[in-house]
Amino acid sequence: MAVAQIEFSKELQSFVREWRDKPGNLIMILHRVQQEFTYIPREAAEQLSRDLKIPLAKIYGVITFYHYFKTTKPGKHRISICLGTACYLKGSQSLIEETESILGISGSEVTEDGLFSIDAVRCVGCCGLAPVMMVGDEVYGKLTKEQVPEIIAKYRNIG
């Protein structure tokens, strides 16, 4: 049977080699794979299954258990809106609704042009800045929903 191939970078290959024989390596390796591809493509999981001699079912069992691992490609600009308690009390739900209505997608979807995706996340640990929204690694704190259109427009202009 033909096997779908995927290219691992040299760094990723050497990371996998370095961790191959360490006990409990799977989650660390999955983190590294996601760092390279922004999600875990099926072909990558199959490749790991062969390299590490771990059944694919077990790998998928782990990927789907943890929120952090994604099986689909996120948007170029990942919008994460915090739904931790402090942010929720200060109205982050309305930030989500506003973002969804501007982008025309709902949580966990990607816009057609592949630019944006929305994730509701549980606490990014900046509760002092609640409510918080992140685009990529950039944090926007003490937000009101009126500020959302401007932030999105900024990233739309970057492309």
Partner: protein, 595 residues
């Protein structure tokens, strides 16, 4: 080189998010440009705790405490303070109760705090081991290795009365003693830094601000129980904390404080970082160990306890970040000193992440036995916008709500449990009259539905059933017998669920049903939500007396359901209204009513 001034810039995640890094670089660049770079050292420290007013910059020796600093303020700080020796008064903290801008020692936020765990946060550069050592760092491991036998360390911990800060409050010395007295070829030491409670960030700040305190404590434990290997399990969502740990581990190895033959003794110990991947249940110790082993993080029944049979079947001591950070100080200052702080059953301090509807959000560390009133009103500066206090949630999704009448109760493990809450890891979320307890319970239950690992049915099914009942209440579709059902399921889960997550998931709901029964009944019987949070129960209308007919509400309405004119005044068509509240916000004459 002796510097005349030191500028400390907060390098915690909150402040970094508000551009503290830029401030740091601007300060250095300006110091160079103005030719004073040999007079001043700019240091990036850990969290000052006063996150509400970040980014924070502190100048020594004048103790100037600047709040809400912007990168563009850097120039003035250098030119005024460093070059001319004049404080930049406009950046000093201004208390809401006092008119003038005030000095650090006068800031109420800090006055009742007692910092043991956060002793170095906001003081040292966490990326420089020398600064940790200069503040008695690694003195404890030296004392232990040169003058204490393992049983002495256990005895010291026992005398100190230290209990686990992760939530349940199990005596720390007993975990260590179990592991120590179990014979095995390999033992492990684990740090739980998988802070999953939404609305809490104590552990993140401790690791970011003082990583060596955790590293040193784990090595002390390794020596005590006979382990050579440690793991720090930390959330992947905390990149800055991970980076600081990596730097800390590297420096400790370079200094011979980790690795083989530590400080020239026979003792060998090293630590590896393992990343979590976003699963709340992994804060439960048996699930955490599963995750380190590379599996789905599903709990296993205890006993056997991890201290006897843990990671890969070997004895494993697991403590949480805050517990670890206490240990070096207990060793250097002694159990007698530590046990004087706190209450009869709960010794030492507790760090809380104070958030929600409070004036001073931030990290606070107080002696056990401090009352909630002191934390909320004296340290926290009271409720935002002069609103009325409704309740405070401790223990996050596992805890309960504490109401006004218990504000003067000294906080310790036992007092919180007796109120149907728990200490938890230290999230302390303040709610005001605008928050609906039914909605908040639904919020916490939704979190538990998401986070239930699905292994045991009481939790998997119970959280779902409780959630759907709470949703019914928030939509005004609940029945009286549903309330009874809700309590029944909750009690069953507490008894039957396999792990801590399932056993405590009903707590927020049960405690609010107990303390705010009337509000639940309003949702069920009268179909009203007094806080105005449950949208399905809201009804917007126009008060014809106050309405001047300006039509602003009609123009703001996104679904065009408001009509009228100057003479007839305006009316809202309730059948089309989506309850967005825009009209209510827009009206300047209090003519739009929300019920």
């Amino acid at each position: 080189m002796a510097y005349k001034h030191f500028i400390l810039v907060c390098g915690g995640t909150g402040c970094v998010s508000s551009r503290a890094d830029e401030i740091y670089h601007e300060l250095i660049a300006n110091a160079e440009a103005m030719g004073v770079k040999n007079d001043v050292q700019v240091v990036k420290t850990g969290c000052f705790g006063f996150c509400e007013k970040g980014p924070i910059v502190k100048v020594l020796p004048s103790e100037s405490f600047y709040v809400e600093v912007k990168p563009s303020d850097a120039k003035e700080i250098i030119s005024e303070q460093i070059v001319k020796g004049r404080e930049v008064t406009r950046l000093l903290y201004k208390d809401v109760r006092q008119k003038d801008r005030i000095k650090l020692e006068d800031i109420q936020f800090y006055q009742k705090q007692y910092r043991i765990v956060l002793r170095n946060c906001g003081i040292i550069n966490p990326e420089n081991i020398d600064e940790y050592i200069a503040r008695d760092g690694y003195a404890a491991i030296e004392k232990v290795l040169t003058s204490m036998k393992p049983e002495d360390v256990v005895a010291e911990l026992k005398a100190s009365g230290l209990r686990g800060r992760g939530g349940a409050g199990f005596p720390t010395w007993r975990k260590w003693d179990f592991s120590k007295s179990t014979v095995a070829d390999q033992k492990y030491v684990v740090c739980n830094a998988d802070e999953g409670d939404p609305g809490a960030y104590m552990d993140r700040s401790t690791v970011e601000g003082d990583p060596h305190s955790v590293i040193e404590a784990m090595a002390i434990c390794g020596y005590t129980v006979g382990a050579t290997k440690g793991f720090i399990y930390i959330r992947a969502e905390y990149p800055l904390a991970i980076e600081r740990l990596k730097i800390g581990l590297r420096q400790a190895r370079e200094y011979g404080l980790l690795g083989d033959n530590i400080l020239g003794t026979d003792f060998c110990f090293d630590i590896e970082i393992r990343l979590g991947a976003g699963a709340f249940v992994c804060g439960e110790e048996t699930a955490l160990l599963q995750s380190i082993e590379g599996n789905r993080g599903m709990p296993v029944p205890r006993p056997p306890f991890p201290a006897i049979k843990g990671l890969w079947g070997k004895p494993t001591v697991i403590n949480n970040v805050e517990t670890w950070a206490n240990i070096p100080v207990i060793i250097t200052k002694g159990a007698a000193w530590f046990s004087k702080i706190g209450t009869e059953t709960s010794k030492g301090t507790k760090v809380f992440a104070l958030t929600g509807k409070i004036n001073n959000s931030g990290l606070v560390e107080v002696p056990m036995g401090t009352t909630l009133r002191e934390i909320i009103y004296d340290i926290g500066g009271g409720i935002r916008d002069g609103k009325k206090f409704k309740g405070a949630q401790t223990g996050g999704p596992s805890g309960g709500i504490i109401t006004e009448e218990f504000l003067d109760l000294p906080i310790d493990y036992e007092s919180l449990t007796s109120l149907g809450s728990m200490m938890g890891s230290g999230g302390l979320i303040v709610m005001d009259e605008d928050d609906c307890v039914v909605d908040v319970s639904r919020f916490y239950m939704e979190f538990c539905v998401d986070e239930s690992c699905g292994k045991c049915s009481p939790c998997r099914i119970g959280t779902n059933q409780m959630h759907s009942l709470l949703v019914k209440f928030t939509k005004g579709q609940g029945k009286l017998e549903d309330l009874e059902k809700l309590e029944k399921i909750g009690l069953a889960m507490k008894k039957a669920a396999l792990c801590g997550l399932g056993q405590t998931a009903p707590n927020p709901t049960l405690s609010t049903v107990k303390r705010f029964r009337a509000e639940y009944l309003e949702h069920i019987v009268d179909h009203t939500c007094r806080a105005g949070k449950c949208k399905s129960l809201l009804l917007f209308s126009v008060d014809k007396v106050n309405c001047i007919g300006c039509g602003l509400c009609a123009r703001k309405c996104p679904v065009n359901c408001i009509s009228g004119d100057k003479t007839l005044k305006f009316t809202i068509d309730a059948s089309k209204c989506i309850k967005c509240g825009e009209c209510f916000k827009a009206c300047k004459f209090s003519a739009v009513l929300k019920k």
